[in-house]
Symmetry: C2
Subunit: 258 residues, 2 copies
DNA sequence: CAATACTATTTATACTAATAAATAGATTAA
DNA sequence: TTAATCTATTTATTAGTATAAATAGTATTG
């Protein structure tokens, strides 16, 4: 009774065996995204098992993002590159019970963003620079409605996501994007109740403008340095904001009689 | 025919609907690991669907690492914290087609390890320090067999994994552990063919010894600095090693007549 | 001739029912 | 008291059937 977790299952489930077999087969044959797996009937014959078992195996592969399943002629399971959204969602499950705090997220962000900026600098196309400029433009007008305010925060984050996608290091790209996604959710679900942080928005805008200039000049060192300052600034504002948030909720509690 | 990927599925699958419902239910009720989900029969009634559909939904949750499923009385789906191994495996799927290179992995490692060391410094218990010392001891004798060599490389990496687990930042901890896992696989599957890199091993040992001294002295800044030098050194050796590896394989190819 | 609608086929999706395997807890025997 | 055995519960797997979705190919229409 005391520790059920370290129980080793006597027999691995048939469906999991099939999943592993298929994975091995895909790796060995160097199969590429878009190629088809055998259909359910063939898999049933191949592994000598029933429809339900095959379906569970395919479901597992689908959840892992390795295949997508379609009906109709030439349907069935098709090999896919795991989409970012899938990997991101699965990593979030892992963090569900840890609930990283704002400062924790910003600690990581401060580490990775400067390097991402430096790595992306020589790799940005003219279209990328134009896109970054457009994102900055979206933040240059004073927001009037709540929706505009949120849109500007999103645009700020997309600036960073674009850099991450261009940094040329798949793992750094993933982490950069993931961190910005976490912040996006934080902004939307926790910070949206607070009034506009004009100082914060203006500081961000300034940094993004300076960054764009450095990126256009292909000056990776400046980009790294500016991004570091930007992150330190954002980290600072976040800390202030969290303080206000606490005050906010404390005030609410004080308002409840009894 | 040209782009099947951007097709949007008309109807979400019943099993996926159930997965989402269960997730919402878990989040709303603030359910904790160890708590039980309703069994298959109850879920069938709850969602008015067949056994197979419930099983697919449970399979999905299981693959995501959110529940473990047991047979027998009081069996069924039990809520779990997603184990690191699960999250790690799923992220690897994402990177399967990207195949991060040695230099890419080391670029990330150089970023995160110094900060991990600094954060872990004030949090290490005496047991942790003893464990780190034991890992160092494992590397102090000259390896005689292949197995010993590999064991020492593993011990080196476990030194870093332990620090990562103690850094107090769930995301940094995950990344640190993940990066070391990637290096472990690289060592085992790619680098094991090469002769011992005595200079490399000695350098690592020296750095780990100095690091342990700094950690014992609770000197976070020194730990950070030492770890940075350690990573730069390791990065350098890795680059040399990759060069040798290429030579190695070039040599092999030259050996093939014709 | 090109665009549209129809149709046959392929395939996944969902359901039912029955048996096999695993196991926690109760019972029994040494 | 301890160890072995039984039993009830629950998942795991199988088999078979029926339905719904997707699509390639064909026929029809403007």
């Amino acid at each position: 009774m005391n520790d059920k977790n370290l129980r080793i299952p006597k027999r691995v489930k048939r469906s999991d065996q099939i999943v592993e077999s298929v994975k091995r087969w895909v790796a060995l044959n160097r199969m590429q995204p878009g190629e088809r797996l055998p259909n359910e009937r063939e898999l049933m014959e191949q592994f000598e098992c029933s429809k339900g078992t095959v379906r569970e195996a395919l479901k597992s592969l689908e959840v892992q993002g390795l295949v997508s399943i379609r009906t109709g002629p030439n349907g069935g399971a098709i090999l896919e590159r795991v989409p970012y959204e899938k990997a991101s969602a699965l990593l979030r499950n892992f963090l569900h019970f840890e609930q990283p705090s704002g400062p924790e997220i910003y600690a990581l962000r401060t580490l990775v963003e400067p390097e991402i900026a430096a790595l992306a600098t020589p790799r940005l196309t003219d279209e990328d620079l134009a896109a970054l400029n457009a994102l900055i433009k979206r933040c240059e007008v004073a927001p009037e409605t709540f929706e505009e305010r949120m849109d500007q925060r999103i645009a700020e984050l997309e600036f960073h996501v674009l850099l991450a996608q261009r940094c040329g290091n798949a793992m750094l790209a993933f982490i950069g994007r993931f961190v910005n996604d976490m912040i996006r959710d934080m902004v939307i679900f926790k910070k949206s109740a607070l009034p506009e942080q004009r100082e914060f928005s203006c500081a961000n805008l300034k940094y993004h403008q300076k960054l764009l200039a450095a990126l256009k000049a292909r000056d990776a060192d400046s980009a790294r340095q500016l991004m570091h300052e930007h992150m330190k600034s954002a980290e600072h504002f976040n800390r202030e904001l969290e303080g206000q948030l606490n005050q906010h909720f404390l005030g609410m509690n004080r308002g409840i009689p009894g």
